[in-house]
Every structure is written in structure tokens, then in C-alpha cells.
Symmetry: C2
């Protein structure tokens, strides 16, 4: 199947590697808003102008939309879903149904299939939540994130005057996770589930105490959490905090038995050295499913919930049953 | 949807509770080879003779086959798959494709849908293996079992002369799991992954040293493992080892990046107080999917790999996306 990538940030680069490694896929090219001449790709894949993408309508089976959820995907996904089968990583949980409906109309109108909100959360974590809730409907599910870099929180710090650069780690509180694993079904405040750890590069002469105060009191982002702030040099930030690790765990705890006397705990845990590369690997597997489902006649918008796992695999049904069932 | 249960051992009892708790299901009854008059059900569900089941062809949407894999399911599943939509927990990994093909023919001939090998391994662990292998195809997957009671190994001990009763726990070796979590991709012998812990009630005057020797040297079952044997009284066995806990973890470790420089680890872990009740809860959720897929026209044999997760859920697609995606 022929794959194209729109957007060449961290996610697009991860997708380039993942698609290139897939034996059943061919990477048609990378499409960008920037000047293609300014970009050297990792694998040598060709780079084209985003505006030329429409000329590749008949040469692309699935288009991976590798833009950001905040500003790009809300309009980019509906824009392309009419002309291509697309996969996106829309992750604004509060607006997923809204995004779904708009993309659904666009995809149906153009006779294409669109899969939104893949990746790991939403994505693999959503699947962990759905399977668990379906098996043990009376149980309670908890999602913990980290340890990992939150791009949104890092950006929020960078917008503070006097801040040159910053990196924010979200850290799950181990005692909280343990209480959930024990089936205690606790109720948590935001502060009881996660810590926020900030590494900040201040501009010369900036008031560090004022920056710290502004971070710790920032509504929604930091105020509801215990937050630590440490100032580092630009070199230290690059050297010690230059990667984008992430991960977390979905823990579902429920009961079975006539008197709910048996506790059953399901945990799905990710430990990722590279958040964007793992996300891109998930996108690539779901692109395979989109191609197959489109060939079988599926149209409109779907999510990871609508994909039979067999459609993600490179193996034949017999191999799958023999080796993995 | 109308559900019937065939077999009333631990699994059948778990299914009775799980189906009764499902708001979209009605339990038609429990069918057994034994004398129905000899059975008092947990929920008061009616009990019928297995031989009468065929008269309920038009009154049952899905039949849960709650017999054992060793002797029952290889012939029971094909027998009923022609007349009912069925779900089984066939767990003989080496014969799954053989079982699949026989059940497929029977189900197709009768115009029904059969889902085989559900539960947690095969079942949820199979799904964990398939998703992981699809996302990170270059990685390596490891399955650890326990701590939990292995019925097969407990039975094997009971067949030794002089043994009155026994319970065997399979215990994963923590250091081995840690090596996998660190992405070291180790190779293990059976002995390096699991321990076997046996609690044995000896008959009066039995030669305990001889029993211990026979257990530890039993081929396949115990010889390839480090095995401990402890003799206990009948009361102690009932009091301390009367439950059927189990669980384990599927850990997949792979890499991403141009030079495979980033490790990504996916872990799916179950901690179960009751193996049969959890297995029954999984069966119940997949029975829902079988009913829906049958209504949409699916026929023949399928596995958990062929079921879109949305079909397991009680929620509407909108609710699912809002609450779980």
C-alpha cells in the first residue's frame, strides 16, 4: 500500500521511519508547508509542497496527518478526508465527538475512510480502557501518565517572560498507583495522582523567583499539582533533557463473584523512550487497517474501537492464530 | 440477547454470575450432563439436561460452552456450532488452527457464528501479543504466568499414588521479568522464567520422599523447572489454598528510531483473584460481540483477533468516544 505523510515534525519523522520499515508499505513522499528544499529527510524520502498533495489523490492509499491537535488537525483532517483515506492523532479529549462528526461527513462525502485519534492516548490507552470496561463493567479505571515530557506544559512555561527554554516532566505518584493496583478504588485529586517537574532556562538577568511563582500558580497547568522548578543552563537542558520519553499506565480494578468477593486487576503500561516515534508506529499499524477496511467497503470516520485487531497485523490469519493466539 | 450455558463447573458458575449481571442479557438456563435435580444454581437460574439443549435452538442467541479443553471442547464446540452461535475457551495452543478449521466448517454448514479460544490466555493475552507485534514488529514478546494455580499441574500431582489432594502454583521469576522490562531481549530456559510451588496432602502412611521425587522428576510438567514441594494437611489445603487466583504479564519490548536507538516497552498485566470468574467475564463480553456480528451477517469461526473492540461494549459509540477514547 502507498503511504504519504503530511507534516515533518517529530511525529512525521517517526512515521517516515516506521512506514519505511513496513514490508507491505511504500512511502510516496513527505508533504510540508515549508520549503521542500530546506528539508533533508532521514531515509532519503522525497519531499513535496503540501499544496501539491491533491495531485497525488490517485497515487496514495493512506495519508498520515502528522500535524498538531491544537491548531492543525481540527481543520486539516476534514480538509483531506474527502480526498484521501486518512489517519490522525487528534488528542483533544473534550472535542473528540465534534471532530469525529465533522470528519465523518467529509469522508462520507468523498467516499473515503478516516481513522481519528490514534496513538497511545488516545489510542492504545483508549483500547485498554474499553476492553477493561467491557469485561468488568462494574469496575473503575484509572489513567496515570509519565514519567514523561509534556509538550503542552513545556510550551506553557516557555510563554512566561524571561524564560528561554523549558522542559516539563509529568510524574505519576507511585503510592496512588499502588492503591489502585490493590483494588482500593480510591478517589484522587489531581495533586494526588501526578507531580510536575520543570527544568527551566532563564534569560540573562531574569527574575527567577518571579518565574517560579508564575509557573507554580498557573491555573489548570500547574496550580492543581505539586510542582518543582529547577533552573538549568541551555547546555544542561539539551544534554539531560533533550529526549521525549513518555508512557504511563491504565489500571482497571473490578470485582467478580456472587458477592463481589474477588478482585480482578488489569494493567496496561507503556514505557517509551520516544513518544513521537511510538505514536508514529501506532499510526502506521492503523494505516494498514484503514487500507484493508477501505478495500472491504468501509467509509466515513472510525476510531481504534472500530478496528478488528487482525487488520493491524502483517501475519496471515493462520500465522496469527498459531503464533499469537 | 438470550444466553445459555453448557457445563456447570467453576467456569459455568462464573458465566452464570457474569451473564446475570449484564443488563442486555437474559440467561435462558444452564445445561448439564449431570442430573439437573442435583444442582442448585447460584442465582436461581433454571437447570436443564444437556440433551434437551437442541430444543432451545430458537430460544438462544449465544451458547457459552463451559467445558474443559482437554476432553470436552474438541468435540463439543463443533457439535453445537452448527445449531447455535457459540463461544468457547479452547486453550490447547498447539491445536488451535485444527480446532478452528473444524469449528469453521460446522458453523458455516449451520449458518452460525463461533468464537473460539476466548478468556485471558488465549484471549486477552493474545490480544496484547497481537497489538504489540503489530505496532513494533521488530520487537520480542514474552509471556509470564502467575502467581496462580495451574489446574493441569495440580491434576498431574493428584494422579501420583499416595497423593490425596494437591495444589500447584506457577510463579514468574521477578528478575526475568525485570530483564525483559529493561529491553534486554534475553533468552530464557523454562527454568529461568517460572518456579513451581506444590502443596500436597499425602495419604496416611504414604512415602513423602518418594512423592516429592516423583513430582520433581515428572517430564514436561516439573522436571524443566525448579520445583518446591510442601506437605500440608487437608484442612490447611482447603483453608490456605482453596481459591483459584491467577494472572501474569505479556511484555513486549521493541525499538524505534533510525538506528533502533529508542526502547519502547508495552506491558499487559492481569492480577486475578478468580481465574474462572474472570475468564467467564471475558466470555460474556465476547458473547455480546458474537450476537452483534451474527446479526450483521458474520458466519463461520472467528477468534478475539477478528472482533472490533466496540462490539464488546455496553456503551453507545458516542459514549465510548466521549468517555474512553
Amino acid at each position: 500500500m502507498k503511504i504519504a505523510i503530511l507534516g515533518y515534525g517529530n511525529l512525521g519523522k517517526g512515521a517516515e521511519i516506521s512506514v519505511t520499515n513496513a514490508p507491505d508499505m511504500e512511502l510516496v513522499g513527505i508533504f510540508t508547508q515549508r520549503d521542500p528544499a530546506s528539508i533533508t529527510t532521514i531515509t532519503g524520502a522525497p519531499v513535496y509542497k503540501a499544496i501539491d498533495l491533491i495531485n497525488y489523490r490517485d497515487k496514495v492509499d493512506v495519508l498520515l496527518l502528522c500535524g498538531g491537535s491544537a491548531t492543525d488537525l481540527p481543520h486539516v483532517t476534514p480538509q483531506y478526508a474527502g480526498s484521501f483515506n486518512v489517519v490522525d492523532t487528534f488528542d483533544n479529549h473534550n472535542h473528540i465527538n465534534e471532530h469525529f462528526n465533522i470528519v465523518h461527513s467529509a469522508a462520507l462525502a468523498g467516499g473515503h475512510l478516516a481513522l481519528i485519534s490514534t496513538g497511545w492516548d488516545p489510542g492504545m490507552f483508549s483500547l485498554a480502557r474499553l476492553y477493561s470496561a467491557s469485561i468488568l463493567p462494574s469496575g473503575k479505571v484509572y489513567t496515570f501518565w509519565g514519567k514523561g515530557v509534556s509538550q503542552g506544559h513545556s510550551d506553557a512555561i516557555r510563554r512566561i517572560p524571561g524564560v528561554k527554554d523549558a522542559r516539563q516532566y509529568t510524574i505519576p505518584i507511585e503510592n496512588a498507583m499502588e492503591a489502585v493496583r490493590k483494588g482500593e478504588n480510591p478517589s484522587f485529586t489531581a495533586r494526588q495522582k501526578h507531580l510536575r517537574q520543570c527544568y527551566v532556562v532563564a534569560e540573562d538577568g531574569a527574575d527567577k523567583a518571579a518565574i517560579t511563582e508564575q509557573i507554580k500558580t498557573m491555573p489548570d497547568y500547574f496550580e492543581p499539582y505539586d510542582t518543582t522548578v529547577e533552573f538549568v543552563t541551555e547546555e544542561e537542558l539539551l544534554r539531560d533533557h533533550g529526549e521525549l520519553p513518555h508512557g504511563g499506565a491504565v489500571i482497571h480494578s473490578g470485582t467478580t463473584g456472587q458477592k463481589d468477593e474477588h478482585k480482578e486487576t488489569i494493567e496496561y503500561k507503556l514505557t517509551l523512550d520516544s513518544n513521537p516515534e511510538f505514536t508514529a508506529s501506532v499510526m502506521t499499524a492503523f494505516a494498514r487497517a484503514v487500507f484493508r477496511m477501505y478495500q472491504r467497503g468501509s467509509r466515513g470516520c472510525i476510531s481504534v474501537f472500530d478496528v478488528a485487531p487482525a487488520d493491524l497485523s502483517l501475519m496471515s490469519p493462520e500465522e496469527m492464530r498459531k503464533n499469537l493466539l
